[in-house]
């Protein structure tokens, strides 16, 4: 039975979230051996003697890995330690051939950094807000191999391709409040490491892995017991897992229970966390200095690079522009809205389009952004194409945007254009427009004609509009658009329709002796010679006989008195 906590009782609890992120580094070979650092190869093909812990092998530190670690630490404003050391962390597991992992527990590569990011999930947050999380330390360490358990055959299979792959571990302070903030942090971190070229950031491949520590407590009281959630495979998974765990802990505490300090796994299918059997006992890792590796020294002072001592200032000079800097620049230069900028920067493909297209033809930045975020993304989703795989050229998108600006086509037409282009990227735009009649009609006469047609055909709606139901206007527009297969420039149409509707007179007439006389009127009075029959209503009144009351409408054109007609 799921208990629902009232919003009131939920407010009494504060949740605390701290993240630990492991990112695989993009070096050619592994951290301490020369075997290839590659994803998805044939099992046990990227394993050197050292990776398999064959006796008599020694570790040799990969310089590129240190550089990538330093770059990450610099991008996150960390203090790089001039001397850092390696340790052995001991535990027995089939995918850890040496019986220990080489890591940097005592003296890591860097300490005390910070990550700044914006929190904005469309649909959950009304507008973006700024947040930051402090980084306790960044350390280099080995990844373990992979083991697969076949419970049917009672077999465990071990693949050592991943054993020894270089990782950086980023340990964050527990200064986040909920799953959305954590997801936003992870998203920003992925963008940063991708920009730096340090890591692919592909969570689905295991290149970036997030563990979350979650606890709740009442304000003013000390922190509650925390649980650790592992096995989160996506950014949205981070939000979902943490949100679920906070609820789960709240439900337990509300009933007077206690939280157990344990490790739980996120089950993305069932959308809940489950206790992990293996990790119930507290492990003593028996840390010991790694005797086969000397301390790692870096040069913090000069730009002189030596074979064994990396210059940190020189690396600092190679840092590219970071996502937050890009956002600020876009907002300042193009006066774009924060939430647009956030969404744009979070999709590198779209950002690239924007940066290339905006330079030509004085295109309007806001319209371009909206086109990319709305029309293009919608079309890609509809056709089940990943944003990164969009095959459209800058010139094609630019042309569409120009045509929209010149009102040669409308948004609906643009959508259709995109649908065709995504499937057949080599077709000429003008050809598609011709074939599918996407050109916009802007001829005023035709527009007027169509508007009048709609008004004639929908007397009920027009009456409602005139009675004050403004919402009906949209319905009328919709009918108009549909009838004309979206070929009209709706902005012009909208104005025209509004104008015409203003001049519609609602008159109620009655029929007496085959002649219709005006009963009630607005605006100018007219005497009508012909009529069309509408609904019948009995009106007791001055004339004493049942009369047909006919509701009629007319469009009065002040310049042409006889242009009106009954319909």
């Amino acid at each position: 039975m799921k208990r629902h906590c009232s919003a009131q009782s939920r407010e009494k609890w504060r949740s605390v979230v701290g993240l630990e992120v492991h990112a695989q580094l993009n070096s050619e070979s592994k951290l301490f051996s020369g075997s290839p650092n590659r994803f998805g190869g044939l099992v046990n093909n990227y394993v050197s003697l050292f990776d398999a812990a064959i006796p008599g092998t020694l570790p040799v530190l990969n310089r590129r890995c240190v550089e990538l670690g330093i770059l990450t630490a610099l991008a996150l404003s960390c203090k790089i330690n001039e001397v850092s050391m390696f340790d052995r962390k001991h535990y027995f597991y089939a995918d850890l051939p040496a019986g220990y992992q080489i890591t940097q527990q005592r003296a890591p590569l860097a300490n005390d950094g910070i990550i700044n990011f914006q929190v904005f999930t469309p649909g959950i947050h009304k507008k973006p807000y700024k947040r930051s999380s402090k980084i306790k330390q960044i350390q280099l360490e080995q990844d373990s191999g992979k083991s697969l358990h076949d419970s049917e055959l009672k077999q465990s299979l071990v693949d050592l391709n991943r054993a020894g792959v270089p990782l950086i571990e980023l340990v964050f302070e527990p200064d986040l409040e909920d799953g959305e903030e954590a997801a936003a942090l992870v998203k920003e971190l992925v963008l940063i490491v991708q920009r730096l070229g340090v890591c692919s950031g592909r969570m689905e491949e295991g290149a970036l892995r997030v563990d979350a520590n979650v606890s709740i407590h009442r304000p003013g009281e000390p922190l509650g017991t925390r649980t650790e959630i592992k096995n989160i495979g996506s950014v949205r998974g981070v939000a979902g897992a943490i949100r679920h765990e906070i609820e789960r802990q709240h439900d337990i505490l509300k009933c007077g229970g206690c939280i157990v300090n344990e490790t739980r796994a996120w089950d993305a299918v069932a959308r809940r966390t489950v206790a992990m059997r293996d990790k119930e006992q507290v492990q003593d890792y028996r840390y010991m200095p790694e005797p086969n590796l000397p301390p790692l020294r870096v040069n913090l002072m000069t730009e002189k690079d030596m074979p064994d001592v990396i210059s940190v200032p020189r690396l600092h000079g190679t840092l590219p522009e970071l996502p937050e800097q890009t956002r600020q620049k876009l907002m300042q230069k193009y006066e774009l809205r924060p939430d647009s900028v956030i969404q744009l920067v979070s999709e590198p493909t779209l950002l690239k389009y924007f940066n290339n297209i905006i330079l030509v033809n004085y295109r309007n930045p806001n319209k371009l952004v909206n086109f990319l975020l709305n029309e293009l993304v919608t079309a890609l989703n509809k056709n089940k194409i990943d944003i990164e795989d969009c095959a459209l050229k800058d010139s094609q998108i630019g042309e569409i945007v120009d045509m929209l600006a010149k009102k040669k086509i409308d948004l609906e037409g643009a959508g259709q254009l995109l649908d065709v282009l995504l499937l057949k990227p080599d077709v000429e735009l003008t050809d598609i427009i011709k074939e599918q009649h996407l050109s916009l009609v802007i001829d005023e006469e035709e527009i007027t004609r169509k508007c009048i047609e709609v008004i004639r055909n929908n007397p009920k709606l027009v009456k409602q509009y005139k009675d004050g139901k403004i919402k009906v206007f949209k319905a009328l527009l919709g009918i108009l658009a549909k009838d004309t297969q979206h070929r009209l420039d709706m902005s012009v149409v909208s104005k025209k329709l509004e104008d015409l509707l203003k001049r519609v007179l609602v008159q109620t007439l009655y029929e007496k002796r085959n002649r219709l006389h005006l009963v009630a009127r607005r605006g100018e009075a007219r005497k009508w010679r012909t009529c069309a029959v509408g609904t019948h209503v009995c009106r007791p009144g001055a004339f004493g006989e049942a009369i047909k009351v006919v509701q009629l409408y007319s469009i009065a054109d002040p310049t042409n008195p006889s242009s009106g007609g009954l319909f």
Binding site: A94, Y100, R286, M288, L293
Partner: protein, 330 residues
């Protein structure tokens, strides 16, 4: 590891131990099955067995050292400076070479023969023009304890890879991975190794780390500082000490003591050099009354191998230890 029997000396039950863990290497050279062999000497195992087996001379040692010394890209602990081959000087003079005699190396249980040999060589060196001086190295006796802790911790760590999965003994246990590990390791390791692993893991527990491991590291620093002081302040070029406290022990005497005590007993003189990370060499001098070789040890500062080997060669050439005896007895 294990015990190596000596050849052709005594009766079946009275054979002698040929030395520590690297015994296999040296014996293979003695019996002629290999030209040269390398053993890892963490506590004196190679030097001690050299004493017991009595093979090789300084020229051989220099040649091998020249062959293997120098920077190795695949070994991160090697010094990355160019290594200049050591040349042994035929006319090397001991004149004005400062020889230190650390008084703490004279300890309880040291046999008379050893002490006599020690004094004899000290006098010999003086007669050749060396300046022989008594020095003090107060932390010498700490060395065994320090070594025990550090060695056992490293053993516990280095042996963790023997799970039988990638190589080595794997038993048929199939109840669970943990049971498989426990079974393979229990059967694959003898009791000395298992004992060291247990002890090492105990010292490495987070609640014990500072008390034992960190303390041992600090004491190791003090032992190393003893040597630094002697080499820098007292300006000693080489130290002269015995290698062991007695000649090669009989098997029955060896197993009557616990392994730890055996090590404590026999490694007393050789251990400190390992703790300080300095070069040391053991030279056979003469035969004991039981006709077993007695050796002395020379120690020099870090990277002073050339001085060390030249002094060793000089002593060797003066002493003329009877090597031919060994070959006859096979």
């Amino acid at each position: 590891m294990g015990l190596l029997k000596s050849l052709g000396w005594e009766s079946e039950h009275d054979w002698r131990i040929s030395g520590g863990s690297s015994g296999g290497s040296a014996v293979s050279v003695t019996v002629g099955s290999s030209v040269a062999a390398i053993g890892s000497d963490t506590g004196g195992s190679t030097r001690i067995l050299q004493l017991c087996v009595g093979c090789g001379n300084v020229d051989d040692a220099t040649e091998i050292l020249n062959a293997i010394a120098g920077p190795d890209d695949l070994d991160s602990t090697t010094i990355k400076k160019q290594f200049n081959k050591i040349k042994l000087n035929e006319d090397f003079s001991l004149k004005n070479v400062k020889v230190g005699i650390p008084k703490e190396y004279y300890c309880d249980g040291m046999s008379e023969e050893i002490v006599t040999t020690w004094k004899y060589i000290a006098n010999l060196l003086e007669s050749e023009g060396a300046l022989v001086k008594s020095v003090s190295m107060p932390f010498t006796s700490m060395s065994i304890a320090v070594y025990s802790i550090l060695n056992q911790c490293e053993v516990a760590s280095n042996m963790a890879r023997y799970d039988g999965l990638e190589y080595g003994l794997r038993t048929d246990e199939n109840y669970s991975t943990e049971e498989l590990y426990a079974s393979s390791r229990s059967q694959g390791f003898n009791n000395v190794v298992r004992w060291r692993i247990f002890a090492g893991n105990y010292f490495l527990l987070s609640r014990n780390y500072d008390k034992y491991f960190m303390k041992a590291l600090k004491l190791r620093r003090l032992i190393a500082d003893d040597f630094k002081k002697v080499f820098n302040e007292d300006e000693i070029d080489v130290l002269l000490t015995p290698t062991t406290l007695s000649d090669a022990p009989k098997y029955k005497d060896f197993v009557s003591k616990h392994n730890r005590d055996q090590c404590a007993f026999q490694d007393y003189c050789t251990q400190p050099a390992n703790m300080a990370g300095i070069p040391a060499i053991s030279i056979p001098i003469c035969l004991s009354k039981d006709n077993l070789p007695i050796s002395l040890q020379l120690m020099a500062p870090s990277l002073a191998e050339e001085m060390l080997l030249n002094v060793a060669k000089k002593i060797e050439s003066v002493i003329k230890f009877p090597r031919d005896m060994l070959i006859e007895n096979e």
